[in-house]
Amino acid sequence: MEEIVNQNGAVTEQLDAATDAEIDMRLVRENHRSETVGEMTVDDPRMICRNVDVYYGDKQAIFNVSLDIGKNQVIAMIGPSGCGKSTFLRCLNRMNDTIDICRVTGVIKMDNQDIYDSRLDVVSLRASVGMVFQKPNPFPKSIFDNVAYGPRIHGLSDSDTHLNEIIERSLHKAGLWDEVKDRLDQPGTGLSGGQQQRLCIARAIAVSPEVILMDEPCSALDPIATAKIEELIDELRENYTIAIVTHSMQQAARVSQRTAYFHLGKLIEVGETDQIFTAPRHKLTEDYITGRFG
């Protein structure tokens, strides 16, 4: 127990160094109450979350979570079912706004700006923080229109050729181009599950987001499609920051650089993926990854 407290102290000092004046001292002080073990901050954060609480009506789903999402890194979020991984992930692009009873407190910053600030435009936030959902959800339109939708509504292309370029590049990056290049006019819903998911990834990267959130993107896919998507995630890391929720610890180990373990709405432990899987510091984490729980 003492050890945990000590580590928290160390974390706090680091936080001070990393984010200096941007995060006010109140938050830092409150951070002492957080039970999180491990290094919740990184040197080069893309998004900074501090003391995030989420409530569904009266029920609290996320308790005081502070976490940095590192730039050009993949961070995996693991934990037993119902622990709030999806809820936390959806805070990062304000997808929870669509749920009437959902309320988020705390600070989530991107580019020094609180994304829950009322002055911030949700639409532009979602253009820079894309999302891929658990169930592939292509629009019931053609493959082309699926990918073109984002660039069109944001006015990203100057001409048809430019749009075609964007589409081809996105499908290439999503590893789908060779499979669909001859049938771009066919409905996206007619693809296989794995192809649909890659189409959704292509759709997300077509608007050139900086961060991509993925909520169990492979849960409906077979091992081969999963392997393709994992490979893809690894490639995407070069240009994007990725936060992925997964139930597969192997997947977390394979694709991520950092891993965060959630339990009953609390962030229990976060750290380098290698460290989490080889030498977890918290008892709950250890139980979970060794299969004694969850």
Binding site: G130, M131, F133, F139, Y149, I153
Partner: protein
């Protein structure tokens, strides 16, 4: 051993229960089937009686007369002035032709009953012919003229000849003349085009449903133009934008209540608001359409909300996830996917409105109107009210016209519902 016994025991119980389950299923199927059968029987009974009563209305008896276009009765030869031509005494032509055919009829009273065999509409028929071709004046020509509705009924065997003469619409001497005409091949049943090209009339043989069809058309047009956009907008707002709280619950309950309010109440409302307060004219499709719009609005809102609800939330999330605004999400994705359901609901609402009578009685659309309306501001009847009016008329010939009007109404209803089914089939999407 023990295990095997237990397994056998379980299987025996399952088997026992299984039979019971199959029996239940069979019984349920039989009940369902008989429900559908009895429904079909009632519907076919309705259709058969209406058809049996009404199909004769699509034919009309005509009499062939040798009409002399006497210049003395019309106008001098070579006259083409339409004013003079239209004011001429064409009734005299008909009478002269009848007299010539039955020279034995001499007394004034007998002549009058003789003239009654031909419809008063024959006059307009002759006038039209002459106005179209003034060269006819001075010639003699065999013309098929519309017979009176009583003659028509006799030919269609709707008149009981065994009844006492005084109780009959066709007297003995008239019967004799008709038989003579029949023998000479001067009586014929022809397709009744008047029924589709004329407005209402006191004379059954001259009445038609065109006025009512146009009235219904304009009424539904107004109704659609108001109820569809308002209903869809209300549904979209309630379903996609309004936060779910006590107020929206209250609104939902009220909309559902409104859908169940008796239609005559909407008629009273229309009378009070549109006619008495806003001073709109009575008996016009504009007011009828407004009233029916109020009445179909709840139906459209409820159907549209159901259609919106059936659009999977994952589509909304997908659109919001790439940065579409809520409005773009709705207009680009949700509305197109919900549109077939909305259209189906709207068409069913329109079909309901087409058959609605009670509220229109309240706003005076029950008036006797001969002219065919040229727009939503002209007084007119509508199909169901026309049915009501004709069903209320004493003449036997109106009975078959009532059924015929119902057939036309049903034809419109069936085609609207088929359109709804077709739309649903055509635009049904899977995701």
């Amino acid at each position: 051993m023990n295990n095997l016994q237990q397994h056998n025991d379980t299987m025996a119980r399952v088997q026992q229960g299984l039979n019971q389950r199959y029996r239940n299923e069979k019984r349920f199927r039989r009940v369902g089937l008989s429900a559908i059968m009895s429904g079909l029987i009632f519907v076919s009974f309705l259709f058969i009686t209406i058809f049996a009563n009404g199909y004769t209305a699509f034919q009309q008896t005509y009499l062939k007369l040798d009409v002399v276009f006497d210049p003395a009765l019309i106008a001098p030869l070579g006259m083409t002035d339409p004013d003079i031509l239209s004011a001429a005494n064409y009734g005299g032509l008909v009478k002269a032709a009848m007299r010539e055919m039955f020279p034995s009829v001499t007394s004034r009273r007998e002549k009058k009953t003789l003239y009654k065999l031909v419809s008063t509409g024959a006059v307009y028929q002759l006038r039209e012919m002459v106005m179209l071709d003034p060269a006819l004046i001075g010639t003699k020509k065999s013309v098929w003229l519309v017979a009176d509705d009583d003659v028509d009924m006799l030919i269609k065997e709707h008149i009981d000849l065994n009844a006492v003469e005084s109780d009959r619409r066709i007297k003995n001497n008239q019967l004799e003349w008709i038989r003579l005409l029949q023998k000479n091949g001067r009586v014929e049943k022809r397709f009744n085009s008047t029924f589709f090209t004329a407005g209402d009339s006191r004379e059954p043989e001259l009445s038609g449903i065109k006025g009512a069809v146009y009235g219904s058309f304009f009424t539904l047009l107004i109704c659609l133009a108001i109820a569809f956009p308002v209903g869809v907008a209300a549904a979209v707002y309630l379903e996609e934008f309004a936060s779910k709280n006590r107020w929206t619950d209250l609104i939902e309950v009220n909309i559902n209540n409104l859908a169940a309010v008796p239609s005559i109440v909407f008629g009273l409302l229309g009378l009070a608001v549109f006619i008495n307060f806003f001073g709109l004219p009575r008996s016009v499709p504009l007011v009828g359409g407004l009233v029916l719009a109020l009445m179909t609005l709840p139906t459209i809102i409820i159907a549209s909300r159901a259609a919106l609800k059936s659009v999977p939330p994952s589509i909304r999330e997908a659109a919001l996830g790439v940065g579409a605004s809520p409005m773009q999400t709705v207009t680009h994705h949700v509305l197109p996917l919900a549109m077939p359901g909305m259209l189906t609901g709207t068409i069913i609402g329109m079909a309901q409105a087409l058959g609605e009578t009670a509220p229109l009685l309240m706003i005076g659309m029950v008036a006797f109107i001969v002219d065919i309306p040229g727009g939503p501001f002209d007084p007119s009847a509508v199909l169901p009210v026309q049915v009501y009016l004709w069903a209320d008329s004493p003449e036997r010939a109106f009975v078959e016209r009532t059924s015929a009007a119902i057939m036309v109404l049903l034809a419109f209803l069936i085609s609207m519902n088929l359109l709804a089914v077709w739309l649903r089939k055509k635009f049904e999407r899977r995701w």
